[in-house]
Chain length 436, copies 2
């Protein structure tokens, strides 16, 4: 039994037309017309398959195929159908349509599953003008309050989030009743393009995800002394921007020194005040972001940063005020699902030579790369409520969030067949373990 | 013969009321009501003294006292009556009112000068919402075009500069006819508070200015590669902001390494793009400013910057695009006037001990500190058309451009009497040299 690559690629292409601009980029985010059209298209696809549809309070789309034993909790596949501004056609879409393709393949082959199969397409996973990302999955896993939802408005149109969700078929007032828990799902697997270059650099089609990175953000305010850029001698200066510049380089060096693939650090947002060519900055703000595989590594980084920031404070007579604005722990994937996905990938994918595996810098089990996802996903939030796994598919040159995003059909096919068989195995194992 | 300090301080106080806010800061810039009221007050003062008034195309106020030989070119004293936003009561005002005080003292004492004495108050010297500073002095010395003036509007009110100038008594259409040249003036002397700490740190009242700093500005665009802050490994990044951070530190180090009082360098304006916490900056812009005493020092700095920027480009795989947006040569003050001012200060001011002079880091001639002005002044532009000098008066803690700006009466008196006698000497020497 194989997935139908031709059908899947046709669906990817059809979905990509919603929001596609002349230059090839896709604008499809909650609140715009393309996003609504994409929803209608998805629902039609599901109805054509004879699946049951539920749209929850967050406007997440749940597509259900009731199989043999419909009292069992469902196995859920999925991702999201929205795209970043000027985005590509695989991020999110691949996970949703792969789920539908597997559902359709199983139905066509009349495979008697013991668990209902479910495909979910989450609302507003990407950064979006309502400024709440992974909105749908956070919403139904208890990570968002009604107050936060009610306060959100579209940055450009000013439309309230509640109205946009309503137009998409949801109703934020139903947030509490829409919560999804352990009792609602046996497992969740998200198929997604790898947004880094690990698979591409090693000419591999797919890998299994071991964990999703932790993300830690601080909003740092540097207080120095604004002064005349001409008459203030170099030794009398307390330049807040230069202190921030040094701090950003410390943040970079802290990540580089660890020489790990699963650690990065970034200063991507900076505000210099008063921001005038002839005034020494008295106040500069920046956001420092760390991504890390575990608490110990995070602490190790923060210790070095603390020490080096103190040196900057002393040398420059400035002060850093640091406020933690995000501290999201790494989300480990379920060991059992990780193994099943790995096993099934190993049956589909030509292994690297041992030498190539060794020089790749990656970890392999049974010749399958075990990857840390350095990007956040809906799976982060699902992992809090059910056994969760992810399968990564190669994206050419690791590109994502851009119109050049591209994944080869052969890679999709290998990952798809691995996932198809992983679902079958999972269905059996869950039944045997009586774990559902 | 002495200036009347009490009268001068009374005038300073009266002028400071125009634009004075409750918190003590002064808002008096071209286009606002306070600036117009200050003009009326100045004109009234001049008329009370029996002086003749001319307002030129740029709305600069010229106050003339025709003396013995009115065919001679005038000796001109002056500065500006506007203030930076939230500014203090001495910057600019002291130079104008000191000029009037000297004129009045000479008149009262019926001193028979061989040269007409003139006091000028220039329009819009400070950074202002029309975004043209030293506007009046640049306007009448050929450094501004009618097109530039016509294009300028008040950033907040939207009023055209032409209208504001007209309300102030000028007419930008007359720009060409208002040009001032060698034939119109025998000499120009500007009295101004020192905006650095050289005089304050050494408990000196006044010093003579040897030159006004050169100012060089580049608009630098760093082109890197915007990328995902999670999935892009540290070694694959081309972070435009981090390159800018390193560049700013190079600029600082370049100035510091020279260990000169007359060299500073600043990066005060920075724009990070796309400026998002989770996107590596693909494009960062900054303005680099160097201030320097001469072309050789500037070239020395630029050579090091060039070399170090190249290293950053190579190490980070980014590129710097550099555009010169200002290249204002240092303005040397006239040797003869510098000497006269120095001589006259030395007669009024208690000298430092030789040991204190040596440890001060300053240059002295005849116990008078020879200072480089690290801020720009109207005198920069006047130096292009006439013999020009500046006398600096101590500002407590070197403060300026702030409501805390303060100068002691005794320092004003010492500088004022020195300038009074300098005018008398200059009048004689110009006559003897037949140089006017």
């Amino acid at each position: 039994m194989k997935i139908n690559l031709e059908r899947l690629e046709k669906n990817l292409k059809e979905l990509s037309l919603f929001g596609r601009k002349e230059d090839g980029g896709i604008d499809r985010s909650l609140g715009n017309e393309a996003e609504e059209e994409a929803r209608s298209w998805l629902l039609e696809k599901a109805l054509d398959m004879g699946a049951a549809i539920k749209i929850d309070a967050m406007a997440n789309i749940w597509i259900n195929w009731k199989t043999n034993n419909s009292d069992n909790k469902p196995i859920t596949l999925g991702s999201h159908h929205d795209a970043v501004s000027d985005g590509g056609m695989y991020d999110g879409a691949l996970g949703v349509l792969m789920g539908l393709e597997i559902m359709q393949t199983l139905k066509e082959n009349q495979v008697p599953l013991e668990h209902p199969l479910q495909v979910v397409s989450f609302t507003a996973e990407e950064p979006n003008p309502f400024q709440i990302s992974t909105m749908g999955s956070r919403g139904v896993t208890g990570k968002l309050t009604l107050e936060k939802l009610q306060a959100s408005r579209h940055l450009i149109t000013g439309e309230s989030l509640g109205t946009a969700i309503k137009r998409a078929g949801g109703n934020i007032q139903g947030l509490l009743k829409a919560q999804v828990g352990k009792k609602d799902m046996a497992a969740f697997i998200e198929c997604h393009i790898e947004q880094g270059r690990n698979l591409f650099d090693n000419k591999l089609s797919a890998g299994t995800v071991t964990k999703i990175t932790g993300i830690y953000r601080e909003f740092v305010t540097v207080k120095g002394e604004a002064n005349h850029a001409g008459t203030t001698r170099m030794e009398y200066r307390h330049d807040a921007f230069l202190a921030a510049a040094q701090a950003a380089l410390v943040v970079e060096e802290t990540a580089k020194a660890l020489k790990r693939r699963d650690v990065v650090a970034t200063v991507g947002w900076v505000e210099v005040n008063p921001n005038s060519a002839n005034i020494i900055s008295g106040n500069t703000k920046f956001i420092m972001e760390l991504r890390f595989p575990g608490e110990m590594v995070k602490q190790q980084m923060l210790q070095r940063i603390e020490k080096d920031f103190l040196k900057i404070e002393n040398n420059r007579g400035i002060s850093f005020q640091r406020e933690i604005i995000l501290d999201q722990a790494p989300a480990p994937m379920d060991e059992g699902i990780m193994k099943i996905i790995g096993d099934e990938i190993s049956k589909e994918q030509t292994p690297l030579s041992l030498a190539a595996e060794e020089s790749s810098g990656l970890e392999f089990i049974n010749h399958v790369p075990m990857l840390v996802s350095m990007a956040g996903h809906d799976a982060v939030h699902m992992s809090g409520i059910t056994r969760t796994g992810m399968i990564f598919v190669q994206s050419i040159e690791g590109k994502s969030h851009c119109r050049e995003e591209k994944t080869d059909g052969k890679d999709i096919e290998i990952a798809g067949n691995a996932l198809l068989n992983a679902v079958l195995r999972l269905d059996k194992e869950l039944t045997n373990e009586n774990l559902n």
